[in-house]
């Protein structure tokens, strides 16, 4: 009986250790896939392979700054956010909410922190983070490498079936 109990405890211990090892610092629940569709208009929504990016990055902080409970990788941010305090909100749009350049937000600026005064809007938060990293690690950087153009997009960019007929050579003036 004693032996069985010991074995059970050891087994449980190994199980817990193994699971800790695989998940590592990412002990929280996270989605394997995220569909980024809130801005889809000219381009289709992006189906973001979150699980792959979790494996590919060193730390959650690479994308999530200090919100997931890993210390911020930026020396500047780490002055305040050096501890591992997990926040209630971790998704991009929870902080990069709305559009700071909309007329409404311009004229009613949110009561700002001294430090968070230059926060990119949601569209830029995605692109600056994704493209910036992809340039460094030779990931895809072309627009349509991540999201296909919609019909509205083709019309907007005058491409595809909306391409100008005289696409020969533009005049010099």
């Amino acid at each position: 009986m004693v032996n069985v109990g010991k074995r059970l405890i050891t087994g449980l211990g190994v199980l817990v250790l193994t699971s800790l090892f695989t998940v590592g610092c990412f002990a929280m629940d996270y989605p394997d896939e995220v569909e980024i569709d809130s801005l889809a208009n000219l381009y289709e929504a992006v189906v973001f392979d979150h699980a792959m990016h979790v494996d590919a990055t060193d730390s959650c902080a690479d994308c999530h700054h200090h919100t997931t409970g890993t210390p911020s990788s930026s020396e500047y941010c780490a002055k305040c956010h050096d501890g591992a305090v997990e926040m209630d909100v971790v998704s991009c749009q929870d902080c990069h909410s709305g559009d700071p350049v909309s007329a409404e937000n311009l004229h009613n600026p949110q009561p700002g922190y001294f430090y968070h005064n230059d926060k990119p809007n949601l569209k830029a938060a995605y692109h600056l983070n994704c493209v910036g990293c992809h340039q460094e690690v030779d990931g895809p950087t072309g627009c349509e490498d991540c999201h296909a153009k919609t019909e509205a997009g083709e019309k907007y960019y005058r491409s595809g079936e909306f391409a100008p007929e005289a696409a020969a050579h533009s005049s010099g003036h």
Partner: protein, 311 residues
């Protein structure tokens, strides 16, 4: 003609000339100390962020209802185009263009969007003799195409070579350029279409004075990333759109030899003298001449005829 009318004319012109001399000199003083409207809007352009996707060009085309482009807006062969040996520049059909530069020693090319910089003291406005241009309190440099006579003075005056010209219009060629989306957006407090369309937020829209702080902050908080200069803070008296960059500005096609003072300062002193020379000098020297010749045969005859008229 009798002498009385000539004297009246001279007296009148002297008074008029004096009045004209006072008025423009006052204006000239005001022009020198103008630092932009206090709540004027501006755009901070961060060249480190631009990836050359040309979405801003497409946005401008749609917003301003511009004609169909020669190539699609996702055709990146335009970066290799040279027109008369020069990279692309804004035209009457495209108020903004993105160009690619290859700074020395950089791994990635640098892209730069070109459009009207909406100067605090625009040289185009100064050069326009039909007063077609206006600098609005919101910060836009707009123009009235109805009064434009197509003289193209502004094209020569602009230090950034921005205004385009409808060369293909035979009967009524006019100037065309970026107006900060004044009519459709800025007037209502909204950012221009290009700013809103940018996926990388290369452009940040806001009050010029607030953006200047952000620009300084970015340079300070990211040591080594930016060149320590804000292009447009002081250039030609300050521009509504201004730039920060990771490469020296001359390698991104900027003219770094522009004066820090408004272009009008070059001619202000001279222009203030023009009314004086044209009106006061003739009156003054004719007066001297009359005084110098008074009492001689010419002057005597004058007095006599004047008496006759008094009767």
């Amino acid at each position: 003609m009798s002498k009385i009318t000539r004297r009246k004319f001279l007296a009148g012109s002297a008074a008029g000339g004096a009045a004209m001399m006072l008025a423009p000199s006052k204006n000239a003083l005001a022009a020198g100390s103008f630092e932009g409207f206090p709540d004027g809007m501006g755009v901070l352009v961060d060249l480190t962020r631009c990836v050359g996707c040309r979405t801003c060009e497409a946005a401008c085309n749609t917003e301003q209802k511009l004609p169909e482009p020669a190539k699609p807006f996702d055709d990146y062969s335009v970066f290799d185009e040279l027109h008369h040996g020069q990279k692309r520049r804004p035209t009457d059909k495209a108020y903004t263009v993105v160009n690619r530069y290859e700074p020395e020693g950089a791994d990635e090319p640098l892209y730069r969007k070109i459009q009207c910089n909406h100067c605090n003291e625009p040289a185009c406005l100064t050069s326009c003799f039909v007063n077609a241009y206006t600098k609005t309190p919101e910060g836009a440099v707009i123009y009235n195409a109805k009064v434009c006579v197509g003289c193209r003075n502004c094209m020569i005056a602009c230090p950034f070579h921005i205004p385009g010209y409808t060369y293909n219009s035979v009967l009524n060629p006019v100037i065309k350029k970026c107006i900060f989306c004044y009519d459709t957006r800025l007037k209502e407090g909204k950012p221009p279409a290009c700013v809103e369309s940018c996926p990388q937020q290369v452009m940040t829209f806001g009050k010029r004075k607030d953006l200047m702080k952000i620009a300084n902050d970015r340079i300070k908080k990211n040591p080594g990333q930016y060149v320590n200069h804000i292009y447009g803070e002081k250039e030609v008296g300050g521009t509504g759109w201004f730039y920060i960059s990771n490469a020296p500005f001359e390698q991104a096609g900027f003219d770094i030899d522009l004066p820090k003072k408004p272009i009008i300062d070059n001619v202000k002193d001279f222009l203030a003298i023009v009314p004086m020379v044209l009106t006061i000098w003739p009156a003054l020297f004719t007066g001297f001449h009359l005084l110098a010749t008074k009492g001689k045969s010419h002057g005597h005859g004058d007095d006599h005829s004047a008496e006759q008229e008094d009767h």
